[in-house]
Amino acid sequence: MFSIVIGTGIPIFFVCIAWGFYAGLIDDVARLMSGHITYEHVEYRNSPSNDLWVDDIQKIDQTLNNNSEILTTKQIVNLQGVAHTAKGSVGISLMGVEPEKEIIISFLPENIIEGKYLSKGDERWVVVGQKLAKNLNIDIGKKFVFTTNNVDGELTEELFRVKGVFKTGSKEIDGHFVQSDIGIARKVAGLSNDDVSQLGIIVKNPDNHENFIKDLQKSVAKNSGVFLSWQKIMPDVATTIRMDRTAISSFMIMLVVIVLFTMFSTILMSALERKREFASLLALGAQQIELKIQIFLETIFFGLIACPLGALLGISLAKWVEGYDMMDVVGGKTEDMTVGGFGMDTIITPLFSLPLILQISIFFFFAVQLLSILPIYLISRISITDELRSA
């Protein structure tokens, strides 16, 4: 029974930890960028230029916020351009956001290491990444010029001052990403209050949104707008996670094989140790079928006790390590932990997915039942006289 508990517990522990990392990463990236689902111009994916926007956004935003599946939305104006200071020029992506919402949705405001995050209506104030600040030699209160083109294709310039510096651990974000209030971003781009580059949607259940996207596309989207999942918006992140999941799954398969082999050995040993007991029972008049049923019921009983206990063990272990920094265990720098260019949160945050835990527990329950075929087979070959003689 101990082997079943351990065998079920270890995979559940690993799955809770690994899937927790992925869920955390997906959620963080989606909340920082353009949500689990993004509404944008149908051509924007092919060429994310400043002159591709979606309109009538206030009405769409209101409709989406009334949907029970949606937690919140974020209006975004993206501008690609160049930041200049006396030290030099760096290509950047400026994201105009609603600061009061961004504080609730994104982890970026929490990652401000100098100065402050944006407030509603901040004119010409921005937050920049630590690496960008270093490359442009700018600090809190210092200014830089941002050159971009507006929706009409004309070059435009705007002066910005640094209100805060953030550090996410991602080289891309810390080196080339800037956030401003959406008002000034709209002004620079030449967009009205009813236009955005993207509308990010944060949903309750990020894992299951394909049908939801289809519904939104039918009921909400305008001619030029399209709803896309985060996998399509950030394919590099999705691919990296998929590859990583495949690697973890392969490791899990190996782990399960080892665990099953250990269980098999334990069950084989216990069956061999009980051969004399089985022989005694047969000598007393028990029939083989009765002993087979007895073993089958014993295995069901042990499975019903041990698999939930194993699940509890796995969950408890995962709960125990929750909050620890993985880098303290494996070593290395947090900055090196990136997936698809985005920094990973190395703090262990397990995902306790009930369906996943149930699947693993049920798998081991049935695996144990299959392994019980062995002692059942041994009983059918038992020689009462040999076993009792060897006793």
């Binding site: 004399r276 005694s280 000598a283 007393l284 008049g285 083989q288 009792l388």
Partner: protein
């Protein structure tokens, strides 16, 4: 207390063991009758076939040839399932190493065979408790085998063998692992069960103490019955 009711009739029993290379002739033509109420002992040197014969009589093993008639039924014509039902209902076994189930208490070990017979709980309890009282096992009901002495374990094994009131109890070297005083008390107990409950006993042993209690002694040699003698002292 022989009532001349024939329980077991063996005719020309031959048992060979074939390991693929060598054929070992364990029994070479045994003819034997056991009657209800017998208190018999089989003796002989090691390898003479005592245990093999006991296993064949107890339906634990099948003879290579010859016939075993037990209470009117020919073992040769019965399936393994039918033989197990005979073992369950009509034969009791007491083994040299007790073979009690280690995870069951003394009470549960004795009760187990009654459970196999589908006897209701209240009757099982009554039968086991009465027998434990008769066999001076009271107070040991809840002990596991490992918590009992060798003699106590053998008493529980005897209780398990006789709790169903079988026609025949087969006892294989039951005094081999106990001291002579305990052996004496075990045999006195079995003699009492034989006389009071008319249970037939057949022993296989090397122990001369057992011979003292036996009313019939069957001497085996090289797989054959060398001599059958009645003990005038015990008749």
């Amino acid at each position: 207390m022989n009532t001349n009711n024939e329980i077991v009739s063996l005719t020309n029993i031959i048992k060979n063991y074939d390991n693929g290379k060598v054929i070992t002739k364990a029994l070479q033509g045994i003819d034997l009758k056991i009657y209800q109420g017998d208190f018999s002992v089989m003796m002989g040197p090691s390898g003479c076939g005592k245990s093999t014969l006991l296993n064949i009589i107890g339906a634990l093993d099948r003879a290579t040839s010859g016939s075993v008639i037990f209470n009117g039924k020919d073992f040769n014509s019965l399936t393994n399932k039918e033989l197990s039902i005979i073992r369950r209902n009509q034969i009791g076994f007491v083994f040299q190493n007790y073979n009690l189930l280690p995870v069951l208490t003394a009470y549960e070990n004795a009760e187990y065979v009654l459970m196999l017979q589908n006897i209701p709980l209240s009757q099982r309890k009554e039968k086991v408790m009465n027998l434990f009282k008769e066999m001076e096992l009271e107070g040991l009901e809840n002990r596991l085998p490992r918590e009992l002495s060798g003699g106590q374990q053998q008493r529980v094994a005897i209780a398990r063998a006789v709790v169903t009131n079988p026609l025949l109890v087969l006892a294989d070297e039951i005094t081999a692992n106990v001291d002579s005083k305990t052996a004496q008390s075990l045999l006195m107990l079995m003699e009492k069960l034989n006389k009071n409950n008319n249970i037939t006993f057949l022993f296989s042993t090397h122990d001369p103490i057992v011979k003292k209690f036996a009313r019939k002694v069957i001497l085996l040699k090289d797989g054959r019955i060398d001599k059958e003698e009645l003990s005038s002292e015990n008749i």
